[in-house]
């Protein structure tokens, strides 16, 4: 047989996990945080991966994300923040909704969508943001939320929103996650944008899909 067999190492607690006590935990934390500033991409990548889920590393991860130039390390830092999932990590991710880099915007949206409970306190200001691109992306964050709260937030947006693309994004999300409570807001939106044919059309599809849902 041309095949060889080699033993796989036994599981260890290495990789940034606490081993035997607080001192070791803090040493690891300090070492990994220091490595976030290494000139070696692999070292920064490993540090970001090791710090995933550690709330005490959020300030360092947030700072590193601000200066990191390697795409894969940025990706790993966002995943690390997502694994923490607290208010501080959400605040570290939110600025990237305004990034000029589409990949960065996409990565932050994905990471924030994975934290539907943690982003709730931030949704109202995001949906009222002065930048229509941010409002549009914020509608997407509602997609993974419970139907009732997503409906409530997006209906409030539709009542005032002037930008047709933001309304279209909200309607698209409501078509999937909305309840029939959204029907009046959707109808009002269609009337307001009667001169923009794609919006009444999108509204008709959303209403057809959600009008039989429970409130």
């Amino acid at each position: 047989m041309p095949f060889v067999k080699r033993d796989v190492p036994a599981p260890s607690t290495a990789g940034g996990q606490p081993e035997d006590g607080r001192a070791s935990h803090e040493d690891n934390l300090a070492a990994h945080i220091a490595a976030l500033g290494s000139p070696d991409t692999e070292a920064r990548w490993n540090a970001a991966r090791a710090l995933g889920g550690r709330a005490d590393a959020v300030p360092a991860l947030a700072a590193a994300l601000g200066v990191e130039s390697a795409a894969r390390v940025r990706e790993a830092i966002m995943t690390a923040l997502m694994r923490v999932g607290d208010e501080a990590s959400v605040m570290a991710l939110l600025p990237y909704l305004r990034s000029q880099d589409a990949a960065e915007r996409g990565a932050s949206i994905e990471a924030l969508q994975a934290l539907p409970e943690a982003i709730v306190p931030f949704m109202a200001p995001l949906l009222a943001d002065g930048d229509s691109d941010v409002r549009l992306l914020a509608t997407e964050l509602a997609r993974n939320m419970p139907a009732k709260s997503a409906t409530r937030m997006l209906c409030r947006l539709l009542e005032h929103e002037q930008h047709p693309n933001v309304c279209a994004a909200a309607i698209d999300v409501l078509a999937e996650v909305g309840t029939r409570d959204a029907v009046p807001a959707l109808q009002a939106c269609a009337e307001r944008f009667a001169a923009t044919p794609f919006l009444p059309f999108a509204v008709s599809i959303a209403i057809a899909r959600i009008s039989d849902t429970d409130r």
Binding site: F3, V8, T41, A71, R72, R83
Partner: protein, 291 residues
């Protein structure tokens, strides 16, 4: 009306709008894409799941699905996918391995160096054994290198069955009689057991794809087969699994996913490689950006 089925005292009905809503959710969540000519196929399975979950309407079922109560997403996906595994499943990827991937892998290797191949999840062993048999039958350089095949799964019962290597006729349906004769022996009571030499050649281990510490034990693979598992993960687990898999591959290593999965929807870490037999994903040889 799109579909219906008796459910207790009333009939469950799904409308075309319900089905579209489901399809859009499924596409976004899993990447599985169903067009209109699969409508009847979807309707039947959707109604089955509505009945199985004792939901009294599509809307009630959809709420269960969105919240993934009782792993309903997994149950629904299972109705749409072939869950049974068998030898040479998705044979085009095995062809791709010998026609394209290994040629690129050995450019960096000398004769006698190891080539490392990983099957995760390997379930009851059909995939890693298929890889071994396929290499024996289809790669002329099989004796030139030291080939290491590892099969891993989170389920230790599946791993025990893999190590035993006994399979029924259905598992062997894609293999020719000649191949079965060369690599299997009939066992008393039915079934065929894979050649003891092959059984001894493959390392079976337990591994959890979304545990970075567990996955740190696995490094330097040239080719990873990771088929039909990421589809079951939620977005955050998929991101973590993709980063773990990236670390498990050597630079330039390849990952083969299931036919309905696309890594580009999951992670930007990998390069898409289109070969004549399959689309696979590659860990880049080097970073193109940095400080």
């Amino acid at each position: 009306m799109s579909g219906s089925e008796a459910h207790g005292s009333h009939v469950v009905r799904v409308t075309p709008d319900d089905v579209r809503r489901l399809c859009e959710f499924l596409y976004r969540r899993t990447g599985m894409l169903f067009d209109d000519n699969k409508r009847y196929y979807i309707d039947r399975r959707l109604v089955e799941r509505i009945v199985a979950t004792r939901s009294d309407s599509f809307q009630a079922y959809f709420a269960i699905l969105r919240s993934d109560a009782d792993h309903e997403i997994e149950h629904l996906i299972n109705t749409f996918t072939v869950n049974e595994t068998y030898f040479n499943r998705e044979e085009h990827q095995l062809r791709c391995m010998t026609s394209d991937l290994l040629g690129n892998v050995i450019r960096k290797k000398r004769a006698g160096e190891p080539i490392r191949i990983w099957s995760i999840p390997c379930s009851t062993g059909e995939e890693p054994y298929s890889i071994a048999v396929w290499l024996m039958e289809n790669w002329s350089l099989v004796d030139t290198y030291n080939i290491e095949i590892v099969g891993s799964d989170i389920d230790t019962r599946a791993l025990a069955a893999a190590a035993k290597g006994v399979y029924g006729e259905r598992s062997l349906m894609r293999l020719s009689r000649d191949v079965v004769g060369r690599y299997f022996q009939p066992v008393a009571g039915g079934g065929h057991q894979i050649d003891p030499g092959l059984r001894e050649s493959i390392q079976f281990t337990r591994a959890n794809l979304i545990d970075p510490t567990d996955m740190a034990r696995y490094r330097g693979f040239d080719i990873v087969f990771c088929r039909n598992v990421l589809i079951y993960f939620d977005d955050s687990s998929r991101r973590i699994a993709a980063e773990n898999l990236y670390d498990c591959l050597g630079a330039g290593g390849y990952i083969c996913l299931g036919h309905s999965e696309t890594m580009s929807r999951i992670s930007p870490l990998f390069r898409v490689c289109r070969f004549s037999d399959a689309i696979v994903y590659q860990r880049p040889e080097a970073d193109h950006d940095g400080r």
